[in-house]
């Protein structure tokens, strides 16, 4: 029973983190155009790409992780979901620091 609760808690935490990354990305996609507007600018094509990418990546990775973990026991499934979150985090760091902020506006 305790094991079940632990597994569900871990799954809930991981899922919450995925959901958070999606919500944060949607927030960016909504707020950044407003910011650009207030500066008299628009969002460039590359900017839109990265904004949509930020929303799509966690969703895709989460779906893929669930698909890969399908039919496995709880441990491996959690491991795959956690590895997917790590991947999302790594890519997010790369986008955050390697794509110049100015390239979003144009």
């Amino acid at each position: 029973m305790a094991r079940r609760i632990t597994v569900w808690a871990a799954a809930a935490l991981l899922t919450a983190l995925y959901i958070y990354t999606v919500i944060a990305a949607i927030g960016n996609a909504v707020l950044l155009p407003q910011m650009a507007d207030s500066m008299g600018l628009g969002i460039s094509g590359a900017g839109w790409f990265w904004l949509v990418f930020g929303i799509a990546l966690p969703v895709l990775v989460y779906a893929l992780a669930l698909l890969i973990g399908k039919g496995r026991t709880a441990g491996p499934r959690l491991l795959v979901i956690a590895a997917g979150l790590g991947l999302v985090a790594a890519v997010q760091l790369e986008v955050l620091h390697l794509v110049p902020q100015s390239s979003f506006f144009g």
Binding site: A16, L17, Y20, T21, A24, G27, I68, R72, G75, P76, L79, V80, A82, A83, L85, G86, L87, V88, A89, A90, Q92, L93, E94, L96, H97, L98
Partner: protein, 163 residues
């Protein structure tokens, strides 16, 4: 004249190997050294057992374990290197990341920080997941997943200069 030359060359080679051989050649040699044995082993095994592998045929464990050891050793080292690099980048950007996290509310800040610090764990988690998932599935699938991970988790900031 001849002796100092010889000594210089020897020491240069020796130091070159001992100093630089650690991270980069390991990464460079990894695919080259591993493609041949693992593919050879894979194809050799495929003929016999992959069709039957679903049932239980783990007939040639001795051959497989050689390739497996080389693969896991080299890529395990590479993945550890990745984890170390990601950790150093997460630390390097910690201040900037904290300000990004602060901008997303109190709960958001906590979650964002967790997500940021999940990046250094990614290589370790990927390696563990690949090991666990491909346990009964043969070397070829494990190799594919580990190579995919090595490409996908490549710490790109390394190539972006010291910015």
């Amino acid at each position: 004249m001849a002796e100092p030359d010889g000594e210089e060359r020897e020491s240069a080679i020796a130091s070159g190997w001992t100093v630089h051989a650690d991270p980069l050649p390991a990464a460079d040699h990894a695919p080259a050294a591993d493609d041949t044995p693992s593919e050879a082993a894979g194809s050799g095994i495929d003929d016999g057992s992959v069709d039957a592998a679903d049932s239980e045929a783990d007939a040639p464990p001795a051959q497989l374990s050689n390739a497996a050891l080389v693969l896991l050793g080299v890529f395990g080292g590479l993945y550890l290197l990745y984890a170390w690099i990601w950790l150093s980048w997460a630390q390097f950007y910690a201040g900037q990341n904290a300000s990004v996290a602060e901008s997303s509310g109190s709960l958001g800040a906590v979650l964002q920080q967790i997500v940021f610090w999940a990046a250094p764990l990614a290589p370790i988690l990927w390696f563990a997941a690949a090991m666990v998932l491909c346990r009964g599935a043969g070397m070829r699938r494990l190799t594919i997943w580990i190579v995919i991970g090595a490409v996908v988790l490549l710490p790109l900031p390394v190539f972006g200069g010291g910015a």
